[in-house]
């Protein structure tokens, strides 16, 4: 099984803050050791590896994770769901999970 983490660089060259937050959580939880590959989706460069993978998998959000078990490739755009379903165990702090939900569903501002 190969796990890929894709983080993005914004069109103005700055790093994506959400991607940084997720990376920090991966490191602090020790899960980063289980990530096989980190790709950059550079919005300034459509040929950057992360952008090409996003196009290939029709992913429109970042950060995202891809798990390739040799057959089907599965994509997660919500960190806590990825961590829970792929690594097992706790989904982490409730507030972090809530943030992931909001980031993945920006229109939740209706509540």
């Amino acid at each position: 099984m190969k796990i890929t983490f894709v983080k993005k660089i914004l069109a103005d060259g700055s790093p994506c803050r959400k991607c940084g937050d997720v990376e920090t959580r991966l490191i602090e939880s020790g899960q980063m050791d289980r990530i096989d590959e980190v790709l950059i989706a550079d919005e300034r460069d459509p040929d950057s590896p992360g952008m090409r993978l996003a196009a290939d998998l029709e992913v429109a959000r970042a950060p995202f994770f891809v798990v390739d078990d040799g057959g089907e490739r599965k994509v997660w755009t919500v960190y806590f769901k990825f961590a829970k379903e792929v690594f097992g165990g706790s989904e982490g702090k409730a507030s972090d999970a809530a943030r992931d939900i909001l980031d993945d569903n920006p229109d939740l501002d209706y509540v």
């Binding site: 429109a60 809530a98 909001l102």
Partner: protein, 248 residues
């Protein structure tokens, strides 16, 4: 058998909100209405005619306008209904305020605060029901033009716990909502009389001009690009996407 939200969305696409609500209440024993303290009070008025099956709740972020708190109480008295107030986790709020102060959203964006004060309590509430009802309408903003009247809630569903979301006002306009409020003498939040069309937390809501979308009064200091986490995939050459799809 699993509930077919798509079939319901098709069947009730142009239906009256009261018919959609009746269908929802008939189909689910554990169902809740999220009442924001704004013009979605019309839904409270409508479910009042459907018995006491629908649980009504508000997300009390601790930062609502005093007028909104008074209005929630007024609605509770007017309809004689229980309205459950969902509070954020005090430890999470305390940590946020201790680390970043009371107005970090002006600097860091609203998501962190909203996640703690709204989304986490909402998620906690939705874990106890099988369906919920919102006041979303297609005319509220350009991002809502495709809101269906019923849908599988992919944000809050969990393995083993599917959740259905009903948006009975999806095909109503603001004019229809306010006609209903007037015709049925439904109480409304006094902030609406002061130019507030969308009502949220006090620091994050302001009145809007007549030509503006009602959602323009929320988080106005944030650039549109900061409001979402989208990967600007339009930067990728169309041909590449086409090739990828063909080879998939």
């Amino acid at each position: 058998m699993a509930y077919d939200a798509q079939a319901a969305a098709d069947r009730f696409e142009q239906a009256d909100p009261r018919d959609i609500l009746a269908h929802a209440v008939e189909g689910f024993d554990r169902i809740a209405l999220s009442f924001s303290g704004a013009e979605d009070v019309v839904l409270v008025d409508m479910v009042a005619d459907l018995g006491d099956k629908v649980q009504i709740f508000c997300l009390d972020t601790g930062r609502l306008h005093p007028e909104t708190y008074r209005f929630i109480e007024k609605v509770r008295d007017h309809y004689g209904m229980d309205i459950e107030l969902m509070f954020p986790d005090p430890e999470a709020v305390q940590t946020l305020v201790r680390d970043k102060g009371l107005f970090s959203f002006y600097r860091d964006g609203h998501q962190e605060c909203c996640a703690i004060r709204k989304i986490e309590p909402l998620r906690r509430k939705l874990a106890t029901v099988d369906a919920w009802i919102t006041g979303q309408r297609r005319d509220q903003s350009p991002t809502r033009t495709a809101v269906p009247v019923a849908q599988n809630d992919r944000a809050f569903s969990a393995p083993g716990h599917p959740l259905v979301k009903f948006n009975p006002l999806a095909n109503w306009t603001a004019t229809q909502v306010w006609d209903y409020i007037r015709d049925y003498q439904v109480p409304f939040n006094e902030l609406h009389e002061r130019g507030f069309r969308s009502i949220g937390c006090e620091p994050c809501t302001r009145p809007v001009a007549p030509h503006e979308h009602e959602r323009a009064g929320r988080w106005w200091w944030e650039e549109a690009t900061q409001k979402e986490c989208g990967l600007h995939i339009t930067n990728i050459r169309e041909a590449d996407i086409g090739n990828a799809r063909e080879s998939a």
